[in-house]
Symmetry: C2
Subunit: 592 residues, 2 copies
């Protein structure tokens, strides 16, 4: 079926069910950011492959609401699909809810599949639409019957990580969560989010591309914990280990029954952002729902000493792989055919040589020239550019290692850069250094770091449409909360030992994109009469292209920072390179 | 009665009414920041004169919850009062609610006078306390019967401002508000906040110290408006003008009856932060309450061209007064007795020489040496320091002119400054310049400007405990919303033509305080492919002490900004000075 045929079939289904608007969200019952193929509804029906967006379909209109990162990509992918691009003003906002209130009339019905919609979105829809007399049906799945060649649910093997890798045992983590639940007055707690579950049970798998997680649910009460997981995924030994840690193992599909069986009048702690609406509505009506962020999300974000020490080692491994890659690129560019897709493959090859490499932490973005201006570009067969000996190449990539997760962006110039490129690049670098070197009082929020990072670009009337940074897991999801560095008013203080990316950028549509990204970890700094200060330790270990720098735009302290950083990079990476590579890296890391 | 006797009497009253905890908020039925004497309950019972704080009294404990601006002042004023200081972690937070949940038991009763408590606080108390089984009584006034020598309500005359001063007629403003109400689906709208009312009706008065407002309420419906005001305050001519603008005038005390008479099933738009709980509960139960910021608060914050042009002229007048004052101070210091209170008096004298001066926009803060470390210090007879020919003097003051409101802080050194003083001063100046010179994209929030302003201090592990800036009215309250520059996650974008202060500081308890404050107005700047940018025009016109500057801590662009600013200051102020003063100002504004 073409997307147009699928859309017609869906509209037929809407007619039969008396539905005036159907919403398809990008989610699964675990509210994952990256979805198993089984749940890629939006890609199947519209062709859009981005990681954020919502489809809304009425009889007259079919639209994809997505944010500025995907405007260009969506416009291309939706061509002739029957779907139109609707540009979101704010990333992640459910602006289509407002559109629906204006478009629909009293007595109209809006429907969606509540298993694939987070509680928060369903609640907002109710809040926005019901006062206008619009009805909401949250249990309508119109896709399954149409999508005949749909993939099965993934069934990869899972495994437990030893405490010497995670730094904290499952039983300790469970105890911590139960103590928090007690404080919150909750007797039951449902966890659907896969990275939370992976962290709690020190379990990893391969059910979702790039995220080493396992399809599962968890249910806590005051003194018991159930893990709902396909029993075949785990070895008998692992199952015994879990049971020894006090975990009861139940079949994956039993979660619905278990939620329905929560004792009447319980207090259920539930994260409305990380649970699907359907399961939320299964909680017995007599129960009191306490809504809030999963306790494990906070605990997970603050890395322990073991995780940090593994992460530091992992950064060196990743830096070695990247250095070898960039050396290879310089040596072979112009001599053989290298496409954007080659970059992704080669990078993966170099990473795979490193001990403990499991896979990519997200799809590599290798954007040559104008493709670099698409912040979340992924080369396809049709788009795949061949690299020439000129222009900018932006590479944003990361690895999953059993010892940590990486995420790094670098830009290199494949020929002599223009003055405009130099200026843009230097301002982005300046922004990144400003973010990385900031000292700030305890209690500072991510939006404050965001502003400080952007300032060097604002000073020159430049800006970027995405956030400045995101939390990063330990051998887990490359995006994790609760903290984030962006302009939104998210009231989460930066605690010590949180890993975050700092990745300002600049995008000139049709020309090039620039983004420079390091990971940092927040650490205690001076304690003065003005309070306890926190600052960042830079974790990423990889040279930053200096041929693109216009020194006149930097202050001395930016130059000092860069030279010192390069000194460290050389010291840590060079022992792992061969003679030729080492000579090359010495030049790349020379003081400017 | 001593404060201790008053406290005992209050506890007696609590016992009689079976109240376990009594809350006294700093508010009046208009939720004013500055209170008429009649409503100064907290000062009467505890002796604390600060502009922010809440008393909570139980049988065992009596505490004042206030923020870091008032820690030192409160500690002094509460000495032997029977009240203890409880330090707030976050300015404005109702942290005592949490204390009450921990301190009280099930079936205990918390009471307050709902006329003197904003809706938001009452709602939060209910949310926090009722689930614990604690009862809340919102209609208990235990003060009036004890406070026998209480002042009457103020009865100053009021007057209307002509459209050539306000730039917009009352009937236009009313129409704008009614259009917004229609959009929000509201048929009725209650306005209790005096600055909102003053703006809407272009009315001014003198009922509250420093704020040129008039005790009144306003009630809107789709096509009518009522102003509740003591009829004697207005001339017949003014009353006619109001009626011609479509305003019905009712007696002040009729507001309760009017609220009770709102037609059943109305939709009432009400600002929960700017209305008292008692009046909120008077709204008929059948009505739907739509809660949100008063439309007039947004409209008022965006100054029109007339207001801005008057304000610019007013800044010159205020700058002339300040220049004359500082010249006088330099000439007389060491030769006659000058106390902190003299500073306030003299400043007022110089301001009073200016055309259109009405009064101070807040109590002058003249803090010599260690008194400067109290951000909201007001000299009393006991504390009044005599100025010597050494040490820092901080002066934060402002004027109400019929042509605008001013607010400015300057620090001068009365002798040879120390290196520490120079360093602190220069970093504060750098912070102020960073804030004033920032360009930022449309949509930027106040918390982003706050972070950028603080950075030069953070870089040196310094910080200040108050916000960076506040909105300022046009011949109205010196503090006005909805925008604010502070670290809290307040989701209000900076629009063009908003007036805001930028006032970073640094406080060394027991030694000195530094704060430098200019007012700025947001203006459109460049429109690039990265979006529309906004920047600030500096409004305040007064030299900034340069003898305290350590140039080595500034970048060239800070120095350029200061020199250019001083050039402007001299150009605008000097024509209004005499020869001697002019010569003096030329030196004060010399390029560094």
């Amino acid at each position: 079926m073409t997307t147009n045929e699928k859309l017609s079939a869906l509209r037929e289904g809407m007619k039969n069910e008396n539905i005036d608007a159907y919403i398809i969200a990008l989610a699964d019952p675990h509210i994952s950011e990256y979805l198993p193929d089984h749940y890629k509804n939006i890609e199947w029906i519209s062709g859009f492959t981005g990681s954020a967006g919502t489809l809304v379909i009425t009889a007259e209109f079919a639209g994809l609401w997505t944010d500025s990162r995907y405007f260009v990509q969506a416009a291309e992918q939706l061509k002739d699909s029957g779907f139109e691009l609707v540009k979101l003003k704010a990333q992640g906002a459910a602006e289509y809810a407002n559109w629906l209130t204006v478009t629909l009339s009293k007595e109209n019905t809006v429907a969606f599949d509540g298993k694939l919609v987070p509680v928060t979105i369903a609640q907002q829809l109710k809040l926005d639409l019901e006062p206008k007399g619009i009805k909401i049906k949250g249990d309508i799945d119109l896709i399954s019957s149409l999508w005949t060649d749909r993939s099965d649910l993934p069934n990869s093997k899972a495994y437990l990580l030893p405490d010497k890798v995670t730094g904290k045992s499952t039983s300790e983590k469970i105890k911590e969560i139960q103590q928090i639940l007690k404080k919150k007055g909750a007797s039951t707690h449902l966890v659907s989010s896969l990275d939370d579950i992976s962290w709690i049970f020190n379990i990893r798998g391969a059910d979702v591309k790039c995220n080493p997680v396992v399809l599962s649910f968890a249910l806590f009460n005051a003194d018991k914990v159930w893990l709902f997981i396909d029993a075949e995924k785990l070895s008998d030994e692992n199952k015994k280990e879990l049971r020894d840690a006090g975990v009861s193992i139940s079949p994956y599909q039993d979660i619905e029954k278990a939620i329905k069986s929560i004792p009447v009048n319980s207090s259920v702690y539930i994260d409305p952002k990380r649970n699907c609406y359907s399961y939320y509505t299964l909680i017995p009506e007599s129960c009191k729902k306490i809504e809030g962020t999963n306790p494990s999300t906070f605990l997970k974000a603050i890395k322990n000493a073991t995780e940090l020490s593994h992460t530091r080692e992992t950064m060196v491994k990743d830096g070695v792989a990247l250095s070898r890659f960039f050396y290879w690129l310089e040596k072979h560019l112009g001599k053989e055919k290298i496409a954007e897709t080659t970059v992704a493959l080669k990078l993966k090859e170099f990473r795979a040589e490193q001990n403990g490499f499991v896979g990519e932490s997200f799809d590599t973005i290798a954007g040559y020239k104008e493709h670099g201006a698409l912040p979340h570009y992924k080369a396809t067969q049709e788009s795949d550019s061949i690299l020439k000996t000129n222009g900018l190449l932006l590479i944003d990539s990361g690895g999953q290692y059993t010892s940590g997760t990486t995420d790094i962006t670098r830009v290199v110039s494949l020929g002599e850069p223009t003055n405009d490129e130099r200026k843009d690049y230097t301002l982005v670098l300046k922004a990144m250094i400003e973010g990385c070197t900031t000292h700030f009082p305890k209690g500072t929020r991510g939006y404050q770091i965001d502003a400080i990072t952007r300032k060097p670009l604002w000073d020159h009337f430049r800006n970027y449409g995405h956030g400045t940074g995101h939390g990063v897991g330990f051998f887990l999801n490359v995006h994790e909360g609760p903290h984030v560095f962006n302009a939104a008013n998210i009231d989460i203080a930066i605690e010590t030992n949180m890993i975050t990316s700092i990745e300002p950028g600049l995008y000139r549509e049709g020309h090039y994109g620039i983004r420079i990204e390091n990971l940092v970890v927040s650490q205690l700094d001076e304690n003065t009469i003005f309070g306890q200060f926190i600052s960042f330790e830079t974790l990423t270990v990889c040279y930053i292209e200096t041929s693109l720098i216009d020194k006149s735009l930097l202050e001395d302290y930016h130059i000092d920072w860069l030279n010192e950083y390069h000194n460290e990079v050389y010291k840590k990476i060079s022992p792992n390179l061969n003679e030729e590579e080492r000579t090359w890296l010495r030049i790349k890391t020379e003081a400017i």
